[in-house]
């Protein structure tokens, strides 16, 4: 790479607008040099600056009594769970890299989010993910799924962090632009946390971890444009992961934090050295002087531009406490990691980079970062035209299937509903010996906390792109409500969320309208459930030549269980238990998986949600669990009550079946496959029937006995009676059959 003369044309090639280029000139009081242009282009990219989204994100509720570090303050949110222990958690996307290099893209997505957690001094204890692909009948999508799953597995497994929950959906709208959202949860003692701050004139700035290469240069800029035919050529913009080095980095960093040797540290993800130095300096109100010739390089002939922008993985920037340099170097040596002093903290606010004695770049730190000089845009928004058309849907145009049993089995074995065991079996879900309920066992994963005896957390990712496409505001609300409901079903009280907002091009007013609406819906729901937003990630420009993806906000929910005796699975527990429906059955087929799969239509309106009512349903379940009445709980979601009941049988013990009688004056397909919010299937012992009615009565929530756990088959009215063993075989084998037979 050669330095070039900086012109407006070159700035535009770097993704900057003319106005932004003018702004840079006025900040510097001169034309930036080539390195500086690279710096501004990457720091002011959508990915780093959140310039289109920040104005909306600021409207989200962030306050809460458990919040120790809120959104935007540190690398991840920090939530108090008592006993002097805090949970750090965050979700992040790695969509574009995974679209062109699925294995490395997904692996480095996991690596990046893990670094965000241990940069705070927290040990990662669990990972989750949320994935979207085009349909699996295409070889390309099977290749993407296979690569992404192996990438997530290889990285997380090697790190010794269990991958415990997630979700996957397939839809043509994600063709060519899959979504790979990775979430990590860590724990840290209150007094062991680390901050991403630089302070103290003369303190050493050190680079810990891998050497720096040309990989991932302009990864952040690449993430801030639409994918195109030429994107394949951008493969060098994808980073390459080395989980072994990251594992060493994790252990070294936790040792550094425990021994209190650091003022602060920041991991290097997007925009490498420049981003970490700018953020740390700005936060501490200081400057930094960095000699780029000290940076250990992987390749020869790298110029300052490349060194500053490289997104080589597994690196950390450290600001060391005075007099502790030697101790830091010793720990790095123990873990066989590079650790080099590359500069120092200086008075002032400027970042000064030099190389081989020459000045390479001088920029004010503050001018680069979010909340500082980075641009903020209030994008134009307009309600999309397609919405009106979707509402013209009339259920009378949909024929009720003549063969209900076949329709039910088609849903059960569809890629969106069938068991994802083929996927999660490739993830170590039990390492660290904390996994009480792993994948496939309950509505959320449950991880006990050894350091806080008798406590556990429940975690889950949820997001329904189709819902949000049809009704962005309600879709945002439902994403939060469903994730809250899922952790409630395991016995946890929802306490905070992280979110990953995957949308199309924000410069398209219709896309931006869906973004604003969805964010507003998330905010409303978070207020009702008292689950502040602790941070997350926005991924725009998720488009393919056909248009934008489904607007897909993904919520990562954190719930707290204060007594291990309150943990509940989703499957049936004991023969003879009564099966009870808490909440009401909506029977809405608009936007449902049934309408999509069986009738090939994405139309109508999605199920209604009354957030206050939802909250009461959740309170009913929590009280029912805590008082020992409810033995299992599972919410009604994709595929309606019929699929939910099948899942209760499949996840239950010893092929326990159920005998269900449920009557409503609605169509058969609405009754069985209609989707509904605020409805949860629970089981109770016969002797507790009165008690559950008391609890539901207290919250004024409908409580209807719909059947009994009995026999070894699932029967619903006279629609069908199918052995549980058969249901399980079909549910479990659908995905493997599709993938093992046809992979590549």
């Amino acid at each position: 790479m050669k330095e070039q003369k900086v012109t407006l044309e070159l700035a535009v090639e770097h993704g900057l607008t003319e106005a932004e280029f003018e702004e840079i000139k006025s900040i510097l009081g001169r034309v930036p040099n080539y390195t500086e242009l690279g710096i501004f282009s990457v720091m002011w990219s959508e990915h780093c600056s959140y310039k289109s989204s920040i104005a909306e994100l600021k409207k989200l509720p962030k306050e809460g009594k458990r919040i120790l570090s809120g959104a935007g303050e540190e690398n991840a949110g920090l939530v108090d769970i008592g006993d002097g222990i805090a949970v750090a958690f965050k979700i992040e996307s790695h969509n574009h890299p995974s679209a062109i290099e699925p294995y490395q893209g997904a692996a480095t997505g996991v690596g990046g989010i893990m670094r965000d957690i241990f940069t705070m001094g927290a040990r990662p204890i669990a990972s989750l993910n949320s994935l979207r692909f085009g349909p699996l009948d295409s070889a390309k999508n099977r290749y993407l799924l296979d690569g992404v799953v192996r990438g997530i597995g290889d990285y997380g497994n090697c790190m010794g962090v269990p991958t415990v929950a997630g979700e996957i959906y397939f839809d043509p709208h994600y063709e060519g632009n899959p979504l790979i959202n990775a979430m990590t949860v860590g724990i840290v003692k209150h007094n062991n946390t680390a901050s991403a701050i630089a302070k103290g004139e003369g303190n050493s700035v050190m680079l810990l971890g891998s050497s720096t290469g040309r990989d991932g240069i302009h990864g952040a800029t690449f993430a801030s444009v639409e994918l195109s035919e030429e994107s394949e050529e951008k493969r060098p913009a994808v980073q390459v992961g080395d989980p072994f080095t990251e594992k060493l980095l994790l252990e070294a960093v936790l040792e550094l934090t425990k021994q209190n040797l650091l003022i602060g540290m920041q991991d290097m993800g997007a925009a490498g050295i420049i981003c970490s130095s700018a953020e740390m300096a700005e936060k501490g109100g200081v400057g930094m002087e960095i000699d780029l010739s000290k940076v250990p390089l992987r390749e020869e002939g790298m110029i300052p531009y490349e060194i500053l922008l490289s997104e080589s993985q597994e690196r950390m920037l450290l600001v060391v406490r005075k007099g502790k340099d030697r101790e830091v170097l010793n720990i790095a040596e123990k873990w066989e990691l590079n650790c080099v002093k590359i500069g120092k903290v200086i008075i002032g606010t400027e970042l000064k980079f030099k190389m081989d004695g020459n000045e390479s770049a001088t920029v004010p730190a503050e001018s680069l970062v979010l909340g500082g000089g980075a641009p903020v845009y209030h994008r134009e928004s307009r309600q999309p035209e397609y919405l009106e058309k979707l509402r013209e849907f009339d259920v009378r145009d949909i024929e009720v299937p003549s063969d209900i049993e076949a329709t039910f089995l088609r849903l059960l074995t569809s890629t969106n509903i069938a068991s994802k065991r083929w996927v999660y079996r490739q993830y170590d879900s039990t390492v660290q010996s904390n996994t009480v309920l792993g994948p496939g066992k309950a509505d959320a994963a449950v991880i006990r906390i050894k350091e806080a005896p008798n406590k556990a957390i429940a975690i889950k990712t949820d997001g329904n792109g189709r819902y949000t496409y049809i009704n962005p505001r309600k879709g945002g609300m439902i994403a939060v409500a469903e994730s809250a409901r899922n952790v409630v079903c395991t016995g946890a009280r929802p306490i905070a969320i992280t979110n990953c907002l995957n949308f199309g091009n924000p410069e398209d007013p219709e896309v931006f309208w869906t973004f604003k609406e969805a964010v507003a819906g998330i905010g409303e729901a978070c207020l009702v459930f008292d689950t502040p937003v602790t941070g997350g990630n926005v991924s725009f420009y998720n488009e393919n030549p056909e248009g934008a993806i489904f607007p897909t906000p993904v919520i990562g929910m954190l719930g707290l269980i204060e007594d291990l005796a309150h943990i509940r699975q989703s499957g049936f527990v004991d023969e003879g238990d009564f099966i009870i429906l808490l909440g009401s059955l909506g029977g809405c087929i608009g936007g449902s998986e049934y309408l999509n799969l069986i009738h090939g239509r994405v139309e109508g309106d999605i199920p209604n949600i009354d957030l206050d009512y939802e909250k009461l349903v959740q309170e009913t379940v929590l009280e029912g669990i805590r008082s020992g009445i409810i033995k299992s709980a599972h919410d009604i979601s994709d595929g309606g009550i019929a699929i939910a009941l099948a899942e209760c049988c499949i996840a239950g013990r010893n092929n326990l079946g159920a005998n269900i009688v449920i009557n409503r004056k609605i169509r058969d397909d609405e009754l069985l496959f209609g989707e509904t919010q605020s409805a949860i299937i629970v089981t109770v012992a016969e002797s507790d029937l009165i008690r559950i009615e008391e609890v539901s009565g207290k919250f004024e929530i409908p409580c209807e006995t719909i059947g009994k756990v009995s026999g070894d088959s699932l029967s619903i009215n006279s629609y069908f009676d199918i052995p549980v063993s058969e249901l399980r075989t079909k549910y479990e084998s659908a995905l493997p059959e599709l993938l093992e037979r046809r992979l590549r």
């Binding site: 597995g153 497994n157 594992k247 060493l248 079996r425 390492v431 660290q432 050894k450």
Partner: protein, 228 residues
């Protein structure tokens, strides 16, 4: 009793192992860094699971050259107990303390799942708390755990009664259906000739508390403590 748990760069089950021995069973546990040669007076050595050296080159292939392994080999030669779990099992094979090889799973994929294994040979150090043929539920989590040995070695292991555990179904049948990773003879764990070195792929330390769904692994550690 003092138990030494060896930590290699990339080990990731050392804390789980420590938790069971120290917090649940009240034993003294020493973490032994791979660079040291001193075993710190340990009565038992455990090589925990993980990805030592990232499993680069081949699982366990680099870890065997760590300085501590010379001491571990001497320790084993004196008849003292050495237990290798998962990656630890792989390292024991690479350094020659156990015969055979562990190759990539039949599915060519990482497998994380609960399996059932049957206690085969009785061993005074490791299985005294188990009944003969007892079935144990434990998790496995590996990509390179398919046991392989040439015919002569296999015949020797079998005739010496050195198969410690075999994958089986809930009825105790060891067959291809109940073999998660295509191990020869459904072998999940083996002893050395003297019976003081055990390697196994399943994770007993992840099956030692009822809250985690199984306590079947605890017996192995309890047996080990009882024998010392």
């Amino acid at each position: 009793m003092k138990i030494g748990v060896v930590v290699f760069p990339g080990s990731n089950c050392e804390l789980d192992t420590q938790h069971v021995l120290q917090n649940l069973l009240g034993q003294e546990v020493k973490m032994l860094w791979h660079q040291q040669r001193d075993l710190d007076g340990s009565d038992v050595i455990i090589l925990p699971g993980g990805f030592s050296y990232g499993d680069y080159l081949r699982t366990g292939a680099i870890a065997r050259f760590s300085p501590i392994m010379e001491s571990v080999i001497e320790f084993a030669a004196k008849g003292k107990p050495v237990l290798g779990i998962c990656n630890g099992f792989q390292i024991l094979m690479e350094c020659g303390l156990l015969p055979g090889a562990l190759v990539t799973n039949g599915s060519l994929k990482f497998i994380s799942d609960d399996v059932i294994v049957k206690v085969e040979a009785g061993n005074s150090i490791y299985t005294s708390k188990y009944d003969h043929s007892q079935l144990l539920k434990m998790p496995i989590a590996h990509i390179g755990g398919s046991f392989f040995a040439d015919d002569d070695t296999l015949a020797e292991i079998e005739s010496d009664d050195r198969v410690a555990f075999r994958y089986c179904d809930a009825e105790g049948n060891a067959n291809s259906e109940s073999n998660p990773n295509a191990s020869i003879g459904n072998i999940a764990g083996i002893y050395n000739k003297k019976g003081n070195v055990l390697g196994l792929m399943p994770h007993p330390e992840r099956a030692s508390e009822s809250v985690l769904g199984s306590t079947d692994g605890l017996g192995l550690f309890e047996s080990l403590i009882l024998s010392n």
